[in-house]
């Protein structure tokens, strides 16, 4: 950067103004980076402030006390906050006096002129305006030409999708805009101010007023034949309607926008989002398609389309779209997260985990990614890792009912029922109608053998969802454990009513009938259970028991065999098979079974005793005695 007179004087002034208030304007026609570098190389510390969105310059400047004495503030991007910042600075300019650090506001000729015109009291506070443009450098002699007041189109960046800052701020904004309306003469600016007012009122849910201002703005634009402006206006209204959740109206406005400009990728995308939120996935996908057609690198559109495919269950198409989104934006946390979810839905848990890993890499505070990764681990049976992830999610979002629920499930799977219950408690605290949490808490109580509490929880779950099949089945199981077999059967009936192929419900109902001595009915139920789940080891086992009670030992043995086939470590099945064989006087085979049972469970005193009995029957008295001895040692008591 050439050290022009202006630049030298600027640097000198910064030195003189060290540690005291000083407001300077600098006109630049290129990036400020060079200037900042020059200032820094002259011994100053530059605090850069790039204004945009809702950043409040004065709020930031009040922290001046924390900066070194050689600090200066360098403010750019002021036009991002036109027009309201002008009114705001003009109003609060006396606050500048308390800031004991030089403040440089840099901008184009246009920006600085606007400040001079529309914030004159603030502008008067300046020490000086420096002009560091090339034009200034070239002209040795200042040429004074005043331009014709030809109104030029001006479009402010009126932010829409910003965090709700509350009614107060919006109202203040409205006052500022109304005030400025009284000051500006320029029609383009008036149109923009009306639009700004329209948006503020929409955000306050005053649609009537909003529409009034919207119409006023458009009226001016029509007069000016400002088509571009009209288009921008419709798009802004559509955007704010979308943001506010008035989806049908939003799509109508986007239709208008697209009528005026059928090539506007953004508009297709936003309309797609609206349809998406209305759960009209086909239409959404169509719109995403058009958006991509007009902007082939439209990351958000790929992402959106992927999610829409996901909602329809077309996970492969979804994954393809997320691939694309990632291609164009390799650090897209959303795309990785979504792709992870798609893999998860397909059951490809390892791929899912990989994607969540990436998402977390790019955003270490992504609650969703931790929570979902946890689910993936849980589905793989890696409950400890799952719990770690849920812990993280909860750390980041302590009110997240889902996360507590998931963590509860993981502890439940590990058999740590107390902890599971604690977690379900929190989940319910944050979401008192969390049906699944009640249900699973019931299961956990069941695990602790607290059947009364379990039943209470299932009652609640059913209250919230009267067709909750699992809850009926589980409640039935709890009544069964309490010995209330008729009530249990009633619940199993309900469960089967809602899900006629519910194998477990049949099996459990069978057990209940068996306990009542109705063995034929129980066998019917076990038949059903096996019909719907042909590898249901427990059902075979139970049917075997039922046949045994009826004295049909051959059938028993067949069933026990099947049970062991599907669950080779089914100790009880081995034992009972031994009993059946014993009844059939097939003592050697019986002994083989008891041996198997003891292999699986060496301290089973009943197995020792039974083995002994069979040995005795075979005449091996000593060996039998040995077994009886073992049994007594292990605490066998004759019943």
């Amino acid at each position: 950067m050439i050290y022009t007179q202006q630049l030298k004087q600027l640097l000198n002034e910064l030195g003189l103004a060290k540690g005291r208030n000083c407001l300077l304007f600098v006109i630049l026609d290129k990036s400020p980076n060079e200037l900042i570098a020059v200032i820094e190389s002259n011994g100053f510390t530059v605090n850069e402030i790039c204004l945009e969105g809702e950043l409040n310059l004065l709020e930031i400047l009040t922290g001046w006390g924390e900066t070194a004495e050689s600090s200066i503030y360098f403010v750019s991007g002021i036009s991002n906050q036109f027009p309201w910042v002008l009114g705001y600075l003009n109003l609060h300019r006396d606050l500048f006096y308390n800031i004991k650090r030089p403040v440089i506001i840099v901008g184009s000729e246009y920006e600085i002129s606007e400040i001079a015109k529309l914030a004159p009291d603030f502008f008067r506070f300046r020490s000086r305006t420096y002009n560091l443009t090339k034009k200034r450098m070239r002209d040795k002699e200042e040429k004074f030409t005043m331009s014709l007041e030809k109104p030029e189109p001006v479009y402010y960046s009126l932010p829409i999708f910003e965090e709700e800052k509350g009614e107060e701020k919006l109202k203040e904004r409205i006052k500022v805009d109304e005030y400025l309306l009284g000051t500006v003469r320029d029609d383009y600016k008036k149109a923009e101010l009306y639009m700004s007012l329209a948006l503020s009122h929409f955000k306050l849910d005053d649609f009537k007023k909003g529409k009034e201002y919207f119409d006023k703005s458009n009226a001016i634009r029509d007069k000016l034949s400002d088509e571009k402006g009209v288009l921008i206006n419709y798009k802004r209204i559509a955007d704010v309607l979308l943001w506010k959740g008035h989806l049908e109206e939003a799509t109508e406005q986007y239709n208008q926008v697209l009528k005026l400009n059928p090539n506007l990728a953004e508009a297709y995308f936003s309309r797609g989002v609206a349809y998406h939120k209305l759960n009209q996935y086909e239409r959404a996908i169509e719109d995403y398609n058009r958006a991509i057609e007009f902007n082939p690198e439209f990351t958000d559109a790929y992402n959106g389309r992927g999610v829409a495919y996901g909602e329809k269950g077309e996970f492969d198409s979804a994954i393809e779209d997320f691939d694309k989104a990632i291609e164009f934006n390799p650090e897209s946390v959303g795309a990785y997260s979504n792709r992870g979810a798609a893999y998860y839905r397909k059951g490809e848990f390892d791929s899912a985990i990989e994607d969540y890993n990436r998402a977390i890499e790019f955003n270490p505070e992504s609650v969703g990614a931790y929570s979902n990764r946890g689910l993936a681990y849980a589905n793989k049976g890696e409950f400890d890792r799952a719990i770690e992830d849920y812990n993280r999610a909860i750390e980041l979002s302590p009110n997240m009912a889902e996360a507590y629920y998931n963590r509860g499930n993981a502890y439940g799977e590990k058999g740590e029922f107390e902890r599971a219950i604690e977690n379900y408690n929190r989940a319910i605290e944050f979401n008192p109608e969390f049906t699944d949490a009640y249900s699973n808490r019931g299961v956990a109580y069941g695990g602790k053998r607290d059947f009364d509490s379990a039943i209470e929880d299932f009652d609640k779950a059913i209250e919230f969802n009267p067709e909750f099949t699992d809850a009926y089945s589980n409640r039935g199981a709890a009544y069964y454990r309490k010995g209330e077999f008729d009530t249990a059967i009633a619940d199993f009936n309900k469960a089967i009513e809602f899900n006629p192929e519910y194998a477990a419900a049949y099996s459990n109902r069978g057990n209940a009938y068996a306990k009542k001595g109705e063995f034929d009915r129980s066998i019917e139920d076990y038949n059903k259970a096996i019909e719907f789940n042909p590898e249901y080891a427990a059902a075979y086992f139970n049917r075997g028991n039922a046949y045994g009670e009826k004295g049909e030992f051959d059938r028993s043995i067949e069933d026990y065999n099947r049970a062991i086939e599907f669950n080779p470590e089914y100790a009880a099945a081995c034992f009972n098979k031994g009993v059946a064989l014993g009844k059939l006087e097939r003592h050697e085979e019986a002994i083989e079974c008891y041996d198997k049972a003891l292999e699986l469970n060496p301290t089973d005193e009943d197995a020792w005793f039974a083995k002994g009995v069979n040995l005795e029957k075979l005449g091996h008295k000593d060996e039998a005695e040995h077994c009886y001895q073992k049994a007594r040692e292990l605490g066998y008591e004759a019943s």
Binding site: N12, R128, F144, M146, E168, K175, Y179, R185
Partner: protein, 402 residues
């Protein structure tokens, strides 16, 4: 302290704040101003006079009002405050102003005397009703009790739109009661102190014309009901339209104009008093040898008689000279500074403006219309008075216009 070197000149010549307190005593220079006369009028009579005070942006209005306070403080209890600090210039209504007047009077007076028991009882009971209504609509606002709650409320309406709106809704139907309360406080205080009160409301001239009309034209009656002496600043353009002028002036006992310091008479003759005043301003703040005679004259000339501009020219010139390693401000430094200020004006002017500027430069008369007012507001056109009011364009742009 007086500057002994250029860096100190830069420091002392600060275009931002009006003089007050210590600085006022040290640097103040008597200039042509209605303040002496006004102080005489105010102290001579017992009557609760209402005066308007007008002047251009940046020509030392606030400093002069501070001077006025100093002049009368032995005879009157002065209660000065700025609308800018207490309220929101974009959105100010007469109800807000009266509420703040009441709060300021109450606070200042309570520091000095104890108000009578009956008065306090009356105030407490009145306040209770108001506070109740406000708290109904804005729960948790936490105002407390007694008239102090009203003071607290007046503190909030400046910054919080919702509170402001609610307060107006509650106060407006009770306006006459509020004014009554204020007048009771004034009466009690003036008796106990043995002094009359003088309220000075600064920065009311900073509101835009629309708001000013609403306040003074629409609600001048209410604003002038407090029974103590009050000085209100108002924006210049308010007195331009004849219709408005009449109405406004009927509520008030008079208006004083603080003209810019005259460096020339209307016919172009140099007016040495003006030059001397500004020269004295410089002398009080810096050693003579820090600036050449010629460049000081030049700086004065091109300030157009506006002190803020003069101070800015010297401030900028000091920096420029210092950059070149000089120890004294010379003509080229002042010229450089003036050029920059000229550019600042050029930037906001358009060809359409130059027509009006030409006319004013020649005739020294104002023209009608909003454009003229805007130019006056932005100081491209300056107002002077010798008995009669006349206008001229800012000296830095003279060369460009002609």
């Amino acid at each position: 302290m007086k500057a002994k070197a250029l860096p100190e000149v830069y420091d002392i010549f600060d275009p931002q704040e009006p003089l007050s307190g210590e600085k006022l005593r040290e640097y103040y220079v008597n200039r042509e101003s209605p303040v002496e006369r006004l102080s005489g009028i105010l102290t001579a009579t017992q009557k609760p006079l209402k005066y308007l005070f007008v002047g251009s942006r940046g020509n030392g209005k606030s400093t002069e009002l501070n001077k006025l306070s100093e002049l009368v403080k032995d005879t009157l209890l002065v209660i000065p405050f700025s609308i800018r600090e207490r309220l929101n210039l974009f959105d100010v209504e007469y109800a807000d102003v009266l509420l703040v007047i009441g709060a300021e009077i109450y606070e200042k007076v309570s520091e000095q005397v104890e108000l009578s028991k009956e008065l306090n009882e009356y105030l407490n009971s009145w306040s209770e009703t108001v506070v109740e209504r406000v708290e109904e609509k804005q729960k948790g606002i936490g105002l407390g009790a007694g008239f102090t709650a009203i003071v607290k409320l007046s503190g909030k309406i400046g910054t919080q739109v919702t509170t402001r709106e609610i307060t107006r809704d509650v106060i407006k139907p009770r306006m006459s009661d509020l004014i009554d309360a204020i007048n009771k406080i004034i009466a009690d205080a003036e008796e106990k102190l043995g002094k009359k009160l003088l309220v000075i409301i600064d920065d009311l001239d900073k509101v835009n014309l629309e708001k000013a009309e609403e306040l003074f034209y629409g609600h001048g009656a209410e604003l002038t009901q407090p029974l103590c002496k009050v000085i209100y600043t108002i924006p210049q353009p308010l007195l331009f339209s004849n219709k408005i002028r009449q109405i406004v002036l009927q509520y008030f006992d008079g208006h004083e104009v603080l003209g810019n310091i005259k460096l020339h008479n209307r016919n172009g003759e140099v007016s040495s008093e003006g030059y001397e005043v500004i020269k004295e301003v410089a002398q009080k703040r810096m050693n003579e040898d820090l600036i050449t005679e010629e460049s000081l004259s030049s700086a004065i000339e091109f300030s157009g008689g506006i002190l803020t501009e003069f101070i800015r020219i010297v401030n900028n010139a000091a920096n420029i000279a210092d950059t070149e390693g000089r120890e004294r401000i010379g003509t080229e430094d002042v010229e450089r500074a003036i050029t920059e200020i000229r550019n600042d004006y050029i930037r906001i002017l358009s060809k359409e403006d130059s027509e009006i500027l030409k006319s004013v430069s020649e005739t020294k008369e104002k023209t009608d219309g909003e454009r003229f007012q805007n130019l006056l507001f932005s100081l491209a056109i300056l107002e002077y008075s010798n008995g009669k009011i006349w206008y001229d364009i800012h000296p830095t742009i003279k060369a460009v216009i002609e």
